[in-house]
Amino acid sequence: MAAQTRPWRWQFLFYPLILVGLLILPLVVTNEYVLRIMIMIWIYSVACLGYNFIMGFTGLLQFGHAAFYGIGAYTTGLLMTELGFSFWPALAAAAAVTFIFGILMGLPALRLRGDYICLVTLAFGEIFRVTMQGWQSFTHGQMGIVGIAPPSVFGFRIVSNFHFYYLGLAFVVTSFLFLTYVANSKIGRAATAIREDELAATCLGVNTAYYKVLCFSIGCTLAGVAGSFLAVFLSTIAPSNFTLGETVLMCIMVIVGGLGSLPGSILGAACLIFATEFFRQVYEYRLLIIGLIMVFVLLWHPQGIMGIRAWQRHEAEGGD
């Protein structure tokens, strides 16, 4: 992994320091608005970590990430409001359901060539959103699911932004460690081998179909976990939370942060969330500005802030 290709010694100190800073932050900054922004960064970070595992590590195109984000959110929301589940079992169920949907989506899609995967996953994302909109009896359509109860940790109810901040941070750290562990195992190596050269990977005994589906599903599961957290944080979810625009936003976060870099995903999420908030004054031009950010990143630093490879190469070689 990247761990062996770059000098990482300084980062062993660097990451704990950042973590300490982030732990202290809400004690210093008590502004609710800032805290909400930070929480949104945590949610997007978890989703983007998964996204990066699919696109940056395994080299697969995915344009239905918001659908998996949504599946996680809806699973949690429905289980908690309809069946009275508490958060943690609902979270586990959301992870399991997105993992299974990842496999179901991956099995047919990943047999296709790179650019077609893109179309199939894109279609899946839209089908999901339209289904959630139309299935009134099950999902309350456009109204969405309301009144999702706040979670509790060991009997301690998470209600304020201050609490959600720490819970979100815990999710990010856990997801980060989880993916770092997986990425440095046989699975992560198989994933990067597939990204670099699928044919050569096959010839080294890697069952590429199996690992593509597995890694795709792992990435989707993290989107589901992020969605699950989103559901309890907002307490209301609707199809409009899971549009194609969300997928595009996450995609830009991953590219800006750097394909193939897990810390980059978090950094990318932070940059884009700050940017969208910063330009809230000129709301109509927000997407234009984000687009410009992406163009400049691709022109001047195509591998993103912390990435190890350029987006162009990825595009040219697709998933073949």
Partner: protein, 254 residues
Amino acid sequence: MAPLLEAKGVSVYFGGVAALADLSMTIDKGEILGVIGPNGSGKTTFINVLTKMYVANEGTIDFKGERIDHLPPHQITDKGIARTFQNLRIFKNLSVLDNVIIGAHRHIRTNFFSLFLRPGHHLSEERKARRQAMELLELMGLSRKVHELAKNLPYGEQRRLEMARALATEPDLLLLDEPTAGMNPGESMAMIDLLRTVNQRATLLIIEHNMKMIMNLAQRLVVLNAGQIIFEGTPIQVQKNERVQEIYLGKEET
């Protein structure tokens, strides 16, 4: 003794053209077999058929007494056949060490579940794979470059890296597609010595255009032309054979 690999009546057609026509050959355990022939004679196609990159239209392939021609490519590697490519296919953006460790994929038993249920087992397997990869890189003379990105190695070292990676699968049979392509004479000579060392670990099938090198190295040569074996024998017999000379030098006008 049964041969290590036995191909019987293998034919491959591309459209109407036969890239391999009813080709049968055996490879014995421990030997260095050279496959030579003009461009387009089907040498690389044969390797591609053995590793299931192409599906043969006809014929069977037995490896260690077991039919393998119906297996998918990664399972063929599991059986103990590894290969290198004519146009290098190393993992450019990974470190030299990671390139080789990926070769150990089939020896690492950890899966997604045992990764979390038995982390200790996972770590010991990783350490073992890493140690073996270091040994192979030492053998290939790359031990000082383990942390470099593969794409930053000079060409000759990339070739050796690809070979180390294939050896990490611990193959019984290693298929080498032009291991000295693009090398200067000095590098080619060094490669001969290296391949003799590699031969202690695996049976070798080598495709080569460099006659001097292959005559020096191989114990047995198979000469292909237009998808058929036209001659088979020791390097000396091949050199003396008139049909082989005809193919390489053209027919003498009478």
